[in-house]
């Protein structure tokens, strides 16, 4: 059993609320001890890392990351994305069910868990399909999916056009105590659009996705929650009005929560200028007012989590005229850097920022939140305050598709441990 001492580090543990200096001993797969700053360090260890100036945080829990396996291995696979996830300080992630085949049977869950084990990936938390084949016509075997290891249910980005089936899906999930994850978009209002409805889309002649496409879907699902009491999580909000709806629902004690993709806090539809296909995202990048409102909502906790919405693509998927390209950006390696850049820019408490990508998303998946204390699994990330500039060629993910090329960051993931093993280490 290997022992690693990380000394002189700032420990940030949102669960205990501790933010202060100390030392952490990793002993085998677990945290062996958390020591006060003035504690003696005369122990025998295999490795001693003097992390002065660094932050030690729990590994991030990502609410939406696509590893593209099975089914889309031309884009990425568990081996490639595992390297990227650890380089991004992520030790657990929710896998949406839109693999191929879809995650709608226990056999598929078993298969994914087996792939993940072989790749020694971060903990994978599968979200089972809400409907068979994500086709929106028949309920999936939710109970069997739960037994097989699903931590929630999701319709991914597939439409669910039958309102009655949607209601029954929520009822059924509620009976099993499972959270339903919905990425709200009314496909009929979106009408195949590819850009936020506004001056940029009009100038570029891109077919628009009105704000109402998100908000109308949310109102619909909220009214079903009012009926059923089912627990609903809205993934990847993009609009100010959407954030406002969540706040209103929460004020009425409805069991509704939400997350946002990290890039939505930084970019607007202005990034589409010149038809940059890297900025083709779903939901689309919206207006500056939306971006600012999303930041406020995350700060206030109305939007409780930030996720990567990781969607790696092969180069060909983005090599087409803008409307014909695949939507999505590669994000695993940018989740911590973007979250901490937001923290720096908006003067957010460090513990709050850490919480948005660790303990809150963990709870949303029904998991014990990660804690930095003796006896806990050693899933940790070491963050270094450091200015650096993103060059997509340096991403470890097989998807180099990012609209954030050239962005300057304030923090960098220097190391990541999963079950006590260093799976990522930046050279000093």
């Amino acid at each position: 059993m290997s022992r690693t001492l990380i000394s002189n580090v700032r420990i940030l543990d949102p669960v205990s609320g501790f933010d202060g200096p100390g030392h952490v001993l990793i002993d085998g797969g677990k945290i062996g001890a958390v020591l006060a700053a003035d504690a003696p360090l005369d122990m025998a260890v295999d490795q001693h890392i003097d992390a002065a100036g660094g932050w030690l945080v729990p590994g991030a829990v990502d609410l939406a990351a696509r590893f593209r396996e099975p089914g889309h291995t031309a884009k990425a696979d568990f081996a490639s994305e595992t390297r990227a996830a650890f380089a991004g300080g992520i030790t657990r992630f929710a896998l949406p069910p839109d693999t191929h085949p879809v995650l709608d049977t226990p056999a598929m869950i078993v298969r994914v868990l087996r792939i993940s084990k072989a790749a020694r990936s971060p903990w994978v938390m599968p979200l089972g399909a809400l409907t068979q084949g994500l086709a929106g016509t028949a309920l999936a075997e939710m109970s069997a999916l739960k037994t097989a290891g699903c931590v929630g249910l999701s319709q991914a980005m597939a439409p669910l056009d039958d309102p009655l089936l949607a209601r029954r899906a929520l009822e059924y999930a509620q009976g099993l105590g499972m959270t339903v994850h919905i990425q709200p978009l009314d496909a009929r209002i979106a009408n195949g659009g590819c850009a936020h409805e506004g001056a940029t889309a009009t100038r570029l002649g891109l077919s628009p996705i009105p704000v109402a496409a998100e908000v109308a879907a949310m109102r619909f699902w909220i009214s079903l929650v009012e009926d059923t009491g089912a627990r609903l999580h809205f993934g990847r909000l993009s609009t100010a009005r959407g954030a406002e709806l969540v706040a209103t629902a929460q004020a009425r004690d409805l069991p509704i929560s939400a997350d946002v993709a990290a890039h939505q806090l930084f970019l607007t539809d202005a990034a589409l200028d010149g038809f940059d296909p890297a900025a083709h995202l779903m939901p689309p990048l919206r207006s500056e007012a939306d971006r600012l409102a999303l930041r406020e909502a995350v700060k206030a906790g109305v939007i409780e989590a930030i996720c990567s919405d990781h969607q790696p693509h092969e180069a060909d998927a983005k090599r087409n005229p803008f409307p014909l390209t695949a939507a999505g950006a590669s994000g695993l390696e940018l989740l911590w850097p973007l979250t901490l850049k937001w923290m720096t820019e908006d003067g957010v408490e460090p513990l709050t920022a850490v919480q948005r990508v660790t303990s809150t998303p963990a709870r949303r998946l029904g998991l014990n939140p990660p804690v930095i204390s003796a006896g806990q699994p050693a899933d940790l990330a070491l963050i270094r305050p450091e200015t650096w500039t993103l060059d997509p060629k340096q991403l470890l993910s097989r998807g180099r598709n990012t609209p954030l090329a050239g962005m300057r960051f304030t923090h960098r993931v220097a190391a990541c441990w999963h079950l006590g093993v260093a799976r990522h280490r930046l050279s000093d």
Binding site: E197, G198, A199, T202, R203, G205, F275, P321, P323
Partner: protein, 318 residues
């Protein structure tokens, strides 16, 4: 995809993708040059040698007869070798990507691609991926831009009115889907039009059009008040009915250019239409070739403008 510049580092045109962002001097030069070709044509001098030995490929992913024909004529009058490809049903249906189509045709040593495609940004895509020295001329991409149509509209207005600056122009009809409208708005604005109005029911007005410098009207009579130029846009009847408009009759009643409405226009006002016309929808049928109409001049100007653009891009480099 890197951002594409239409001008090279000496400020010369290397692609024509959109009128947006082009300096007034560039637009004026293109219009002046087109006028030279028109003058030469009136003197019986229709054939020019400036593109001799150059290869122009018309690559049309959308069916088109009139636009493709005018591009073909323009290139031939400049002595280029011209190849017409209607790609819609050929290679892309066999699974070839646009990128591969471009690279394959580039290998035939084309100097210029004239591209029409139903995806906005297609011309930018080709320009971003074309080999250095290969020019891209946008013949219409989705709803985004149709810059040579914009230029021929500007040329037609300038011929009749003597200027663009200070004019009041009203565009009527399907602004939402119209690349012609967007290019006209950019060109008119750059050359100093006093007012650019757009008139249509709200379902056919795209969000944020005022940011492009256009004022929105939902009352055609108010919109036409004291305008110098009326630009009617083609209504694509198939996709309009039910979804955007209750009926063509209702559109004609509220937004059609009728004799009654035309009678209230200032005497000097002209009426334009990019064609093909839906008689009895955008315009009362017998007005299409009436005294205010400049529709046939637009067609003739289209050839001259396309010659001017091709010559400025390919001829100037020789």
């Amino acid at each position: 995809m890197s951002a594409v510049s239409q001008l090279d580092d000496q400020g010369r045109l290397q692609h024509l993708l959109t009128l947006e962002g082009l300096p007034a001097a560039t637009l004026t030069d293109l219009l002046d040059h087109a006028d030279q070709y028109l003058d030469a044509g009136r003197n019986g001098d229709k054939k020019h040698a400036s593109l001799l030995g150059r290869t122009v490929i018309n690559l049309f992913f959308e069916p088109s007869t009139r636009t493709r024909t005018t591009f073909e004529l323009a290139a031939k009058r400049l002595s280029a070798d011209v190849l017409n490809l209607q790609v819609a049903a050929s290679s892309t249906s066999k699974g070839e990507t646009l990128f591969d189509t471009l690279k394959t045709l580039e290998a035939m040593q084309a100097d210029m691609f004239v591209i029409r495609h139903d995806a906005s940004g297609a011309a930018h895509f080709f320009a971003a991926h074309a080999a250095p020295g290969v020019a891209i001329l946008n013949a219409g991409d989705g709803r985004h831009a149709h810059p040579t149509q914009g230029l021929l509209d500007l040329l037609t207005v300038r011929q009749r009115m003597g200027r663009i600056a200070g004019l009041k122009v009203c565009l009527v009809g399907d602004i939402l889907h119209s690349r012609v409208a967007r290019s006209a708005i950019h060109g008119l604005r750059t050359l100093g039009a006093a007012e650019i109005r757009v008139a249509a029911p709200p379902t056919l007005i795209p969000a944020g059009i005022s940011a492009l410098g256009a004022q929105v009207f939902h009352d055609l009579d108010a919109a036409l008040d004291s305008v110098d130029v009326v630009m009617l846009l083609r209504l694509q009847k198939e996709r309009m009915l039910g979804a955007f408009l209750p009926s063509l009759g209702e559109f004609h009643r509220d937004y059609g250019l009728t004799h009654q409405r035309a009678a209230r226009l200032p005497d000097h006002a002209i009426v334009m239409h990019p064609g093909p016309i839906n008689r009895g929808v955008e315009i009362e049928g017998d007005m299409a070739y009436g005294p205010r109409s400049v529709i046939l001049e637009q067609v003739n100007n289209g050839i001259a403008v396309r010659m001017a653009v091709m010559d400025r891009i390919l001829g100037a480099r020789a």
